[in-house]
């Protein structure tokens, strides 16, 4: 079996977000780029599944839609352990466009399992994975917190409000994964970084695809008023303020 993990290239989560050109463009000067945190968890879980010989997974590849400047992020995915990276050479204009590009690749190069993170930490669109499933006419399972391939069948766990479901699904399918899928993302080791240099990073041209949405303006949240401090010996005052001033109790 083969697993394809969709990778998004996002600003480091500690980035102080700024905009330019009259707040119409993200200012990427000085920004450190990372693998989207959920995609990194998905990749880690895919590698864990491959390392368990019983699962007979012979390939874990990553795919990304972006320009050449994102190759460093793909090299990191290879250093973590992916066998191959594919970059569709285009600007990731919107979720529909990105999902369409990945689906076009999948149609030519079938995979059994596709992993996608539940959202990206930049545009928080939370839609690419399910869109790929629809383009491919595959089952798609959202909010996946665990994947189990032992016992020669595919069992997924899906989070539901206040609980979880154990689900059986047939390949091929798309799993949109979230926190819990694995404990911690893997960090590339020196050996992995050396090996990554020799691993294939294929660059493919984009296919014709529409873009349906565009960000026309950005704004920063309003600054919060000062925090009202209350003495630790006088918690009754806090209760009073929550009741009568904030009116939330």
């Amino acid at each position: 079996m083969k697993i394809l993990v969709c990778i998004s290239n996002v600003p480091d989560t500690t980035t102080k977000v700024k905009f330019k050109e009259n707040n119409t463009l993200f200012d990427d000067s000085g920004v450190q780029w990372i693998i989207n945190p959920w995609d990194e968890l998905a990749l880690t879980r895919a590698l864990e599944l491959k390392e368990d010989a019983g699962n007979s997974i012979d390939e874990v590849s990553v795919i990304h839609v972006g320009g050449a400047q994102t190759d460093a992020t793909l090299r990191k995915a290879l250093a973590i352990g992916a066998d191959k990276a594919i970059r569709i050479d285009a600007c990731a204009a919107d979720a529909y466009y990105v999902a369409g590009q990945i689906a076009a690749y999948l149609k030519e190069n079938p995979f059994d399992i596709v992993f996608s993170g539940i959202e990206s930490s930049d545009y928080n669109g939370s839609s690419v994975g399910a869109m790929i499933a629809e383009f491919m006419d595959y089952p798609g399972i959202s909010s996946v917190t665990n994947v189990d391939l032992s016992n020669s069948e595919v069992v997924l766990y899906r989070a539901i409000p206040g609980g979880k479901q154990k689900i059986k699904v047939e390949i091929p399918f798309v799993a949109v994964v979230q926190k819990g899928i694995t404990n911690e993302p893997r960090i590339p080791a020196m050996r992995g970084i050396m090996m990554a240099r020799k691993k294939p990073l294929e660059v493919k041209p984009a296919v014709e695809m529409d873009v349906l949405t565009k960000s026309v303006k950005f704004e920063l949240p309003e600054a919060k008023g000062a925090c009202k401090m209350i003495d630790a010996e006088n918690v009754e005052q806090l209760v009073d303020l929550l009741k009568n001033e904030a009116k939330v109790l």
């Binding site: 989560t13 980035t15 977000v17 905009f19 945190p37 959920w38 919107d94 979720a95 529909y96 959202e119 930490s121 928080n124 669109g125 839609s127 399910a130 869109m131 499933a133 629809e134 089952p139 798609g140 069992v155 899906r158 989070a159 539901i160 409000p161 206040g162 609980g163 979880k164 479901q165 059986k168 699904v169 047939e170 399918f173 949109v176 926190k179 404990n183 911690e184 529409d210 349906l212 949405t213 565009k214 960000s215 026309v216 303006k217 950005f218 704004e219 949240p221 008023g225 925090c227 009202k228 401090m229 630790a232 918690v235 806090l238 209760v239 303020l241 929550l242 904030a246 939330v248 109790l249």
Partner: protein, 322 residues
């Protein structure tokens, strides 16, 4: 022209977020001078369906099929798209929750409709159609323009509120033809936490961090939550350490919540944590470190040891209620 709201039910019941969704979509329908159609899938009794009339659901299309009680995103998206085609809908609105996240992108592809997730308020503009959404995990907002004729939105919880608007709710039954092939997933087991407030639904959340020092100290957190009828949550280090389950982790990579009242006890307030809670209406921070960044985003703060402050607070709230 019409506007569709998909009213998801949980075991046959609607939630406050469903009422908010209907209220929001009714408002857009009014702004566009068009009709609202609410769609319900799976078994829901007539009385519960009719209850949506309180929020402006004048027409409700119910697909009352027990086979559809469990979410299968392929089936749901096909049914909603079919109704949308039939009714000439140009805007389809869903709640931004697990099911909305699974269904909306599929409708977007089926109908070649531009989609925006987790919209924060009513559209900024109707022509061109522009909505505001949170980006960079809450560090900014984007105004996103949808250029396609049909548009799909999911709305963030507490983005609009519940607005009463009593109308007579006309219920129509609809039996779509759905191919058996679409039911490719099979639910083997379901586990639900009993007697616990569901975090994503909670109006009040008590959350705690590493300042608690040990998982054995969580009793004081749970007692405060109990007296408030609140949900419990935690910061990332706490769930990574296995002190609490991942389902409690709020923050950038965990759950993003928007309760009316959020208590952050022993949480320093790293930027990633704040991303998950910044839409809370009121934030109370309790921390021993006066320099903790959480005080920069809180409305009320107490400097002190959580192990001493939380029991006092529980007591004070209990007294104020009696």
């Amino acid at each position: 022209m019409s506007v569709i709201a998909f009213a998801k039910n949980w075991n046959g019941k609607f939630k406050n977020s469903t009422y908010e969704l209907v209220s929001y979509t009714k408002k857009i329908a009014d702004q566009l001078n068009t009709k609202l159609i609410v769609v319900s899938i799976g078994e829901v009794n007539n009385e519960d369906l009719k209850s949506l009339g309180k929020y402006g659901a004048e027409r409700l299309i119910s697909v009352n099929d027990p086979q559809m009680n469990i979410l299968t995103s392929r089936v749901y998206s096909q049914v909603i798209s079919e109704i949308a085609e039939k009714e000439g809908a140009n805007i389809i609105v869903l709640s931004d929750n697990n099911s909305g996240k699974a269904i909306a992108p599929r409708i977007s592809v089926k109908m070649k409709a531009g989609m925006v997730a987790a919209v924060q308020e009513l559209p900024v503009s109707l022509d061109p159609f522009i909505v505001k959404k949170r980006v960079f995990s809450g560090k900014a907002f984007a105004h996103v323009q949808i250029d396609s004729p049909v548009k799909v939105l999911t709305i963030a919880k507490n983005c609009f509120g519940v607005l009463e608007n009593q109308v007579d709710c006309l219920i129509e039954e609809f039996e779509p033809e759905v191919s058996k092939d679409l039911y490719k997933i099979q639910v083997l087991e379901e586990e639900e936490q009993k007697n616990k407030v569901i975090l994503s639904d909670a109006d009040i959340v008590v959350s705690a961090g590493r300042g608690m020092r040990s998982p054995d100290n969580w009793g004081v957190v749970e007692e405060l939550a109990e007296v408030l009828g609140a949900g419990t949550a935690c910061s990332r280090p706490v769930s990574d350490e296995g002190w609490r389950g991942h389902e409690e982790h709020v923050g950038q990579t965990g759950k993003v919540i928007a309760p009316n009242l959020y208590f952050a006890a022993g949480i320093s307030g790293a930027i990633q944590h704040v991303a998950g809670i910044s839409r809370s209406k009121c934030i109370v921070a309790i921390n021993i470190d006066p320099e903790a960044p959480i005080f920069g985003v809180a409305d009320y703060g107490i400097i002190g040891d959580v192990m001493e402050v939380l029991p006092k607070l529980t007591e004070a709230i209990r007294n104020s209620k009696s």
